[in-house]
């Protein structure tokens, strides 16, 4: 199957495969049948591409599944994608993630999505690394009208002494925990612990420079300012990367970025209340941007799961 299908009543859901050079991506689409109802001819067709970080197309705690069904009830077509090496996608072997590959796959999915649904305008929604990819795609797609970025870290984040110290502390804590495992002591007694690796981990010398990521995504301070797409950044208050990311994006997009925080939430908004708050903030922002053309009655069949749609 080279593409994915979309048909069925009211809120139509389908799953399928999208062929890209790196493999077969598993995709899920949700859409209302008629987009603009009786004014279909004059209403712009909008779609949302949801990009997970390095997880499944479901999103953490099925957040993408639920939010895409909600978006569909507002007249937005939605596409969720498993990158290759993730979820149901091919290839199945385990390889290190290459951000350039993820970006290329997201672009291929976006092109097919746009063509299949004859979309006029696109909204990109990304979580974590998905947000970085969304930012990157927004630079080159003229019909991207908005970006929603959940828990997206600063793409360019210099390794400051504070960050290095925080990293070392986190790693020390992890090693401390490992001392409670019998397997660790067995490894220690057998001389199987790689001291050099531990040192490298603690001093963070093994981490690839962020400039590589910048280059793969094509994001730099100069280029990112080139396109003025409205952006919403949503962070959990307890996300360790929040502070740095907020400073970075406020400086990078002083005119176009709206930045908001969900109190007490973590990186993945992993509680019902936090997920609800993140989606509510997103809905309100999309509405203010005039992107929810036709708010329908929220009668999605998914109503009730985590209570997301009842808010």
């Amino acid at each position: 199957m080279d593409s994915f299908q979309h048909e069925a009543p009211m809120i139509a859901e389908s799953r399928g495969w999208l062929v890209v050079p790196s493999g077969h991506l598993a995709v899920s689409t949700v859409a209302t049948v008629d987009f603009g109802g009786t004014n279909a001819a004059t209403t712009l067709r909008r779609g949302v591409l949801m990009l997970p970080g390095t997880g499944l197309r479901n999103g953490p705690q099925d957040l993408f599944v639920l939010f895409s069904r909600q978006c569909a009830s507002w007249g937005l077509a939605c596409l969720r994608v498993d990158y290759s090496f993730y979820g149901d996608s091919w290839p199945a072997c385990d390889q290190a993630m290459q951000i350039s590959t993820l970006r290329a796959e997201a672009r291929a999915a976006l092109d097919t999505f746009q063509a299949d649904f004859a979309l006029d305008e696109l909204i990109l929604l990304g979580l974590c690394t998905g947000g970085e990819i969304a930012l990157s795609l927004a630079q080159e797609m003229p019909n991207v009208v908005a970006c929603v970025l959940w828990s997206t870290a600063a793409v360019y984040s210099p390794l400051t002494p504070a960050k290095r110290a925080r990293h070392a502390f986190t790693m020390l804590r992890m090693y401390g925990r490992k001392l409670f495992y019998l397997a660790t002591w067995r490894k220690l007694l057998r001389g199987g612990v790689d001291g050099a690796m531990v040192r490298r981990t603690l001093t963070k010398r093994q981490v690839a420079p962020d400039s590589e990521k910048q280059s793969a995504l094509g994001i730099s301070k100069r280029r990112s300012g080139a396109r003025r797409v409205p952006m919403l950044f949503v962070y959990g208050e307890r996300d360790p990367d929040r502070r740095q990311a907020v400073q970075y994006y406020r400086r990078l997009f002083p005119d176009t970025a709206a930045i908001t925080t969900v109190p007490k939430a973590d990186h993945n908004f992993s509680s019902v209340a936090w997920a609800t708050q993140a989606t509510k903030l997103t809905k309100e922002w999309l509405s203010r941007q005039g992107l929810l053309g036709r708010l329908q009655q929220e009668t999605d069949h998914a109503e009730g799961r985590y209570g997301l749609l009842s808010k």
Binding site: E13, S14, R15, G16, W17, H24, A26, S28, L56, N58, D62, V65, Y86, G87, D88, W90, A92, D94, R173, G176, R177, F180, Y181, A183, H301, A302, G304, R305
Partner: protein, 282 residues
């Protein structure tokens, strides 16, 4: 790419979504339905079900893996971690088997489940519906688990768990804010010494002993990791039950593996042992 189709079928009015892996080459008349555990998806932990399904399909066994209602992309909601949900999952399993039989012209269906998925498989084969065989990966038996001969094992295991938790900042925050549930900890550690039973939320507890495996038509494969604390009491229980019912079974232990076989060699061994057992049965 071997043929995989995204599929949708109904169970008690809910739309359930899954993936069918069609057999490569000459299709056998034996197929597998994979059941995920609590909070899991059709993907399985660390994509184990994807890899296993592709390996089985490559050997000629068609496979269906799907999301239970209220999980993943399927419709519905979960009532909570209760026997009610497990009963609903058993209904979903029935719908999945019916769908799979028609879709892939399969005559004999084996259920494969990891952890709670295995318990749902046991529940299903204990009077809910007929099934040819079971493959239970790291499936705990909550009938006999942690009973009289096991309290020391349980105490040792959970003491280590709590000690590890003391290295977490969140644990100390919880203690300082008095959010620490002391009675829960005591119950967890000393339940067996004091004769305290855990809340009756475990799936197989709802199956009466006389019904156990009552609708099972064929053999059982038990696969456990030796580093999984409840493994020994669980497979001992299943062995005793299967022997008393004269149901043929095989036990395969994976040296050093934990409950979710979380390393590539463990997954490979679980798949290989299951595949060779299935080939013998087919």
């Amino acid at each position: 790419m071997p043929k995989e189709d995204t599929v949708c079928f109904q169970s008690s009015g809910y739309r359930l979504h899954g993936i069918v892996h069609e057999a490569v080459g000459t299709a056998r008349t034996t197929g597998l339905v994979l059941l995920n555990g609590w909070g899991g998806y059709r993907i399985g932990p660390h994509r184990m079900y994807v890899k296993a399904a592709r390996a089985f399909a490559a050997s000629g066994f068609p496979v269906l893996r799907f999301d239970f209602r209220g999980t993943g992309e399927s419709d519905g909601t979960l009532a909570g971690n209760t026997a009610e949900d497990v009963r609903a999952f058993a209904d979903d399993t029935h719908a999945a088997i019916d769908f799979f039989r028609q879709r892939c012209a399969v005559e004999r269906v084996y259920l494969l489940g990891l952890c709670t998925g295995g318990e749902i498989a046991v529940l299903y084969a204990s009077g809910v519906g007929a099934v040819q065989g079971l493959i239970l990966w790291s499936t705990a038996s909550h009938f006999e688990l942690f009973q009289a001969e096991e309290p020391m094992r349980r105490l040792r295991h959970y003491s280590l768990v709590y000690l590890r938790k003391l290295t977490l900042g969140s644990t100390w925050r919880k203690i300082i804010r008095r959010g620490f549930h002391v009675r829960g900890v005591v119950r967890t550690l000393f339940a067996d010494f004091r004769g305290i039973r855990r809340p009756a939320q475990q799936p197989t507890e709802s199956v009466g002993q006389p019904n156990l495996f009552s609708s099972l038509r064929g053999p059982v494969l038990l696969v456990y990791g030796t580093a999984d604390p409840p493994a020994k009491p669980s497979y001992s229980f299943f062995e005793t039950s299967l022997q008393s019912r004269r149901i043929p079974y095989n036990l395969h232990l994976i040296e050093g593996a934990d409950a979710s076989f979380s390393s590539l060699p463990f997954v490979a061994e679980a798949c290989t042992s299951t595949l060779s057992w299935l080939t013998m049965q087919a």
